[in-house]
């Protein structure tokens, strides 16, 4: 088990290094760099920036150095000093830029995750136990709809309904009267009243797919001989279901937990752009658009790290949950 853990950890570091490099290549792919954005903006205002000033900018940001040197400067800063670099467009350190927003992203993602679990599991289990009942059909239908509606579409429709019929500003996190107020109970309640919409919007797609996964897994297990055996020996039905097939059907779920986190963050990005929430999503979008390479690079690095760590945690959780896997690991 320990050897397995060590191997996984080593592999994780290699993966992260590779991801950071690929990210950097991708950001550097487009012709031009941050200075071309500056030049384009200046031209849009009808000004021209002298050649010498551009060269000065390039030197200031280290853009005149070869690619590998730029990469090394960035990654060694990240690893050795925890310094994610400087955002060109914001003229601030990336760490402080992201730090301001990442908390809200995490709150939103975790709240959505809890929402997804608390809705999807009971419905999925019910659907499988009462296969082809009206309730099952309704759940399947809603699940299909949930998977088909793009998140931003749902966000737009919710905002439209809120705007049109409740006269409420659904976007943002606070009502105007609380925006600058100090933290108090009223502000907290106001935050919650604004936050539930994005939570639902971000969670819907995940809920839909999790219902389907749970249902399919449980249906696979329900007709296996061990269920018949347990029933034959007279175990109460609910105890039987929870102890054996439901538990078995949750195994594949653990292996998807790792993917769920980045998925939620992706969903959160688009929804936050639409609803103008001050999370990390809109920041990433603006960074991508203006070739703010350290900003985007740090984002992808952080998100990848979350994914890789999430995958590992989910594998460990799976081993903890499923004795068969544990057995295989201790043997191999």
């Amino acid at each position: 088990m320990l050897r397995y853990l060590a191997r996984r950890l080593g592999w994780m570091v290699v993966t992260l290094a590779a991801i950071s490099f690929v990210t950097f290549v991708v950001i550097k792919l487009p012709p031009g760099d941050y200075t071309s954005t500056v030049i384009a903006n200046a031209e849009a205002r009808g000004q021209a920036i002298p050649e010498s000033q551009i060269a000065e900018l390039k030197r200031h940001y280290g853009l005149d150095k070869p690619f590998l040197v730029q990469y090394w400067t960035w990654i060694s800063g990240v690893v050795l000093h925890g310094d994610l670099g400087q955002s060109f467009a914001w003229n601030q350190s990336v760490a402080s830029l992201i730090g301001n927003r990442v908390l809200l992203s995490i709150v939103l993602s975790i709240a959505s995750l809890l929402f997804v679990w608390s809705i999807a599991f009971p419905i999925g289990i019910y659907s499988a136990l009462r296969q082809y009942s009206p309730g099952d059909y309704l759940a399947s239908f809603l699940g299909f709809i949930g998977m088909a509606v793009p998140e931003f579409m749902l966000a737009l429709v919710m905002m439209y309904i809120g705007f049109r019929y409740f006269g409420q500003s659904v976007g943002g996190l606070f009502s105007p009267e609380y925006a600058d107020a100090a933290w108090n109970l009223g502000k907290l309640l106001d935050l919650i009243s604004h936050l539930w919409v994005p939570i639902v919007v971000v969670g819907v797609a995940g809920t839909a797919s999790l219902i389907r996964i749970t249902r399919a897994n449980l249906l696979d297990e329900l007709h296996k001989p061990y269920v018949a055996t347990a029933r034959a020996k007279g175990l109460p039905e609910w105890k039987l279901l929870l102890k054996y097939p439901v538990r078995m059907s949750l195994s594949p779920f653990f292996s998807t937990v790792g993917w769920l986190l980045p998925g939620l963050i992706s969903g959160e990005t688009i929804v936050s752009v639409v609803m103008s929430l001050p999370t990390s999503g809109p920041l990433l979008l603006s960074g991508v658009k203006s070739q703010d390479m350290y900003l985007v690079g740090s984002f992808v690095l952080i998100l990848s790290a979350l994914t890789v760590i999430g995958t590992m945690l989910s594998d460990l959780a799976l081993a903890w949950w499923d004795p068969r896997i544990r057995h295989r690991l201790s043997k191999g």
């Binding site: 998977m147 793009p150 998140e151 579409m153 639409v274």
Partner: protein, 379 residues
């Protein structure tokens, strides 16, 4: 696995025993017939297919079905509301024109239906020029104003006074094809790499699996965003379209490759593969004649589920302004105009392309579900 039995040449009819003959007449349908039977039992899948076929037909002949070209604009009529088609014995089919008033305080333009202005509407009318399938020039439209250039907005107009219905129909071409092209590219990659990995095994398999794990661990959306943002602005709509397709399929192939590999690994040990090998069938013959057919239907079903995902991907990217860009039209590009909640509040019909996305993706998911059930008709 049963296919391989069917794949063998049938004995000549005169030598056929009675049992085989009766089996052929009653029980032994070819596999595709069995699959179609199973598919038909899935009512939702059938409905999905019935919805999709006409939509694709309209998209192929978009020039004919759309009342106007995608870029023809009535600049005086931004956000004009949808018109209703009326019928009277005097005018035949007609819609009412608009009269606009401008609010003196907010300078907001509002439109009211002007019952004095009547726009005659006809079927098979002449209007904007287009090319059927990009080849044959024509200017006949299924429905449109009799006098070319009159306002005719069945779904309302966008911010530049362009007919939303026409743009929706033109946009369908890109939105509907990008999923198919992307999935095709992803399947070729997935089949090839997964096949190599599964059939050869050993260190090559190990290396390929590590690469796949690596690609899968990169978060999708930021990667899509970074890649699409790195497309040069100078690229034309067509190049951009293909670039976006490649970006979308770059991630899609990994899941398929793993699936194919798994199938190869389990099939390699099957008796019929061993039999073929002992018979002296070549390696290519075993792979393409025996192994691929026995999991092809599964692959098709898996792949069909990826099409809607790619459509949603394109829509999201274009919506964020990173995918296709105007003057190209796709549903995502159209929805970009609905990003602002104020615009949506004054012109809720701007969300129509979103509705189209939902309908198409829903129908595709149903069909994919049916295909998955039908993939193994012997269950």
């Amino acid at each position: 696995m049963v296919q391989t039995i069917q794949a063998q040449p049938a004995p000549p009819p005169q030598a056929e025993p009675e049992v085989v003959k009766s089996l052929r007449d009653h029980g032994a349908l070819p596999q595709w017939r069995l699959m179609w039977r199973q598919f038909r039992r899935h009512k939702l899948a059938l409905i999905g297919l019935i919805v999709l076929v006409p939509i694709y037909f309209i998209a192929v002949f978009s020039g004919f079905f759309a009342p106007a070209a995608s870029d023809s604009a009535h600049t005086a009529l931004p956000y004009a509301p949808p018109q209703r088609v009326h019928f009277s014995s005097e005018h035949g089919l007609f819609v009412y024109g608009y009269s606009s008033t401008r609010d003196q305080e907010t300078f907001e333009q509002t439109f009211t239906v002007d019952k004095n202005k009547i726009v005659d509407v006809g079927l098979f009318v002449r209007g904007d020029e287009y090319k059927i399938l990009g080849l044959i020039p024509s200017d006949i439209h299924l429905i449109g104003p009799v006098k070319a250039g009159d306002p005719f907005f069945l779904l309302g107009a966008d911010q530049s006074g362009r007919d939303l219905l026409s743009r929706l129909i033109h946009g369908a071409r890109v939105s509907l094809s990008i999923g198919l092209v992307g999935v095709l590219a992803a399947s070729v990659l997935g089949l090839l790499i997964g096949g190599i990995s599964g059939y050869l095994g050993g260190p090559i398999d190990n290396a390929i699996q590590r690469v796949i794990e690596f690609i899968m661990s990169i978060p999708t959306l930021p990667l899509w965003m970074a890649l699409s943002a790195s497309l040069p602005d100078s690229w034309g709509p067509l190049t951009r379209y293909f670039a976006i397709t490649v970006i979308l399929s770059l991630i899609g192939w990994t899941g398929l490759a793993r699936d194919v590999r798994g199938r190869f690994l389990s099939l390699r040990e099957e008796d019929f593969v061993m039999a073929a090998r002992l018979d002296g069938v070549s390696r290519g013959g075993i792979i393409f004649g025996h192994m691929v057919p026995s999991f092809a239907s599964h692959i098709i079903a898996t792949v069909s589920m990826a099409v809607p995902t790619m459509i949603l991907g394109e829509t999201s990217l274009s919506f964020l302004g990173l995918g296709l860009q105007a003057p190209a039209v796709s549903w995502g590009v159209l929805l970009e105009g609905a990003q602002n909640i104020r615009a949506v509040a004054t012109a809720p019909w701007l969300l129509a392309p979103g509705l189209a996305v939902v309908v198409v993706v829903l129908a595709m998911n149903f069909v994919g579900d049916g295909l998955r059930d039908a993939a193994d008709p012997y269950k």
